[in-house]
């Protein structure tokens, strides 16, 4: 196992070292010590490596991730796993604003709560939040799944496209064009798989499903203010 201590090594060296790992690297396990809220930790990775960050992180940790698994043993600042393409990001604590924003693929697991705008404009990423999420989550979400084991804040799924939203607790309000939908067997199957991959013991039957009413897809004069 490789250990990089950010008290000794600067951030650029850390990220350059992780970027240098090839598809076939045999240095597959990395630990980052003393993150102290630094920005852009473990960003832009593209190798099947596992990186563990021992502490809280600042803006944009694990952004643009491909293939790698990034474990954050603390809470994450704004924009964690933003624009993730593949791989897995697991946060033991809470996540700040716009976690998993615009993500195209991969799995983001937040074991605490996520704040506002979680999964905004998500494009295929799967997000599993063990706690609650804040307002404007999944705004303009296009595809992928957002699973919330706790409650959702205001304006969930506003202007939603085809992403699936599963919420176990209460939803403070639904955004424009977001509606509750029937939970069919295929959805329970998808949800069971996501909960298992997200290490949640919640039961799929306890969730409700929300999705797009598809009324904002085309311009309609009655939608104008």
């Amino acid at each position: 196992m490789q250990t990089i201590d950010l008290q000794q090594t600067d951030l650029r060296t850390l990220n350059a070292t992780l970027h240098a790992q090839a598809e076939t690297t045999n240095q597959t396990t990395w630990t980052i010590e003393n993150p102290r809220g630094a920005h852009a930790l473990a960003c832009g990775l593209d190798a099947p490596i596992e990186v563990t960050v021992n502490g809280h992180t600042g803006y944009y940790c694990a952004g643009m991730n491909k293939q790698a698994t990034v474990n954050i043993k603390g809470s994450a600042g704004p924009g964690v796993a933003e624009n993730m393409m593949s791989g897995t990001v697991v946060i033991d604590g809470d996540a700040s604003q716009y976690a998993g924003a615009t993500g195209h693929g991969g799995l983001l697991v937040i074991k605490g709560n996520a704040s506002s705008r979680c999964g905004i404009s998500m494009k295929g990423i799967d997000i599993v939040v063990h706690g609650n999420i804040g307002h404007m989550s999944a705004f303009m979400a296009q595809s992928g799944n957002l699973v919330v084991c706790g409650d959702a804040g205001e304006a969930l799924g506003d202007s939603l496209y085809e992403a699936r939203l599963f919420v176990r607790g209460s939803v403070k309000s639904l955004g424009a064009d977001c509606i509750e939908k029937e939970m069919r067997p295929e959805h329970l199957e998808i949800l069971a798989d996501l909960l298992a991959r997200g290490s949640s013991t919640a039961k799929p039957e306890e969730f409700r499903r929300y999705g797009s009413a598809r009324k904002l897809y085309n311009f309609h004069i009655d939608n104008a203010y």
Binding site: R36, G37, G58, G134
Partner: protein
């Protein structure tokens, strides 16, 4: 104060706020040093100017004014005598760079201000109150902290601000914190979009507003509300209705420390609490050197929720006490 490179989902890094409220009096000698460290960490969020409000404690039957001058050598020379003689009261003046802390007998603030306007109209009042002292200047936070020797100051609580100017000029008067009333102050990260109309309205109500700065309008708004009988909590609550724009406010009072984010909450905020203190930072980075931070409860304050801690409250803090 600063707007943003606000993109679709949030903001870039503009302006930094720090705050520290001590529960454990054993940390009081270190307050200035801890706040200075927090402030310097936020330099890249706001390199234009910096300011700090420190509640350094009360002296019995005394009150204070913090003054600022562009020409401290002449303005502060003999000030104790020039101010004390016409009023017939003992006055103590402590000069720190461009600022001077004037200590007066309680109840003499208004009389002293009238005399000050007479003897030197260029003097600016940074703060007034029994405990508060406000220091602010243009320049890098580390230089501002050093010129006022903030590191050596003791106190019960304090708030600081690093500014990236956007809504008005880089000047001392545009720097935060803003004094909103006796022993009250405000720092702000964000930008108010209705500050021009609100400034006109408040001026009609007789509220003195010095600059074109949006935060000063926010501060004046709170002052106006409180002059009309609102508590600080109520004034903050009504600001959610009356202020348009983005803001995270941190406010200080003689005994307490409060936090409020606008309902959209795109300006960042992190809080940490231990048995010894409650701390606020625009980012977690600002908090990493606080004692015992590894074991602190760290969380993000909720939007549109007033948080307040007071030394007057029960031993545990009174969170969300609007």
């Amino acid at each position: 104060m600063p707007p943003e490179g606000r993109c679709f989902f949030g903001e870039f890094t503009m302006c930094g706020i720090v705050g520290l409220f001590l529960k454990d009096s054993r940390l009081e000698p270190q307050l200035g040093a801890l706040l200075t460290q927090m402030l310097i960490t936020m330099t890249d969020r706001g390199p234009d100017s910096a300011g700090i409000a420190i509640y350094s404690g009360e002296q019995e039957d005394k009150t204070k004014l913090t003054l600022q001058s562009e020409t401290p050598e002449t303005s502060f020379e003999d000030l104790a005598a020039r101010l004390g003689a016409p009023l017939g009261i003992p006055v103590d003046v402590r000069v720190k760079s461009t600022h001077a802390v004037v200590t007066l007998p309680a109840g003499q603030t208004a009389a002293a201000r009238a005399v000050l306007t007479d003897i030197d109209p260029s003097l600016r009042v940074m703060s007034r109150g029994d405990s508060i002292e406000i220091y602010k200047e243009v320049g890098l936070p580390k230089n501002v902290a050093a010129r006022f020797e903030i590191e050596k100051m003791r106190g019960t609580h304090g708030i600081g601000h690093t500014r990236m100017a956007t809504e008005s000029a880089v000047t001392t008067m545009g720097a935060h914190p803003f004094n909103t009333g006796d022993d009250q102050c405000l720092v702000h990260n964000g930008s108010l979009s209705n500050h021009n109309s609100l400034r006109r309205k408040l001026r009609r109500e007789g509220i003195h507003i010095e600059t074109e700065n949006d935060t000063e309008v926010g501060a004046a708004y709170l002052t106006w509300k409180m002059q009309n009988g609102a508590t600080l909590g109520e004034a903050l609550q009504s600001s959610l209705e009356d202020l348009d724009g983005f803001f995270t406010f941190v406010v200080g009072t003689k005994d307490g420390f409060g936090v409020l984010r606008d309902p959209i909450a795109c300006k960042p905020a992190v809080m940490a609490e231990t048995d010894q203190y409650v701390a606020f930072g625009s980012e977690y980075r600002a908090l990493v050197d606080l004692p015992g931070i590894e074991a602190a409860r760290v969380w993000e304050p909720e939007p549109a929720t007033v948080y307040f801690w007071s030394h007057n409250a029960a031993p545990t803090s009174s969170e969300k006490a609007a």
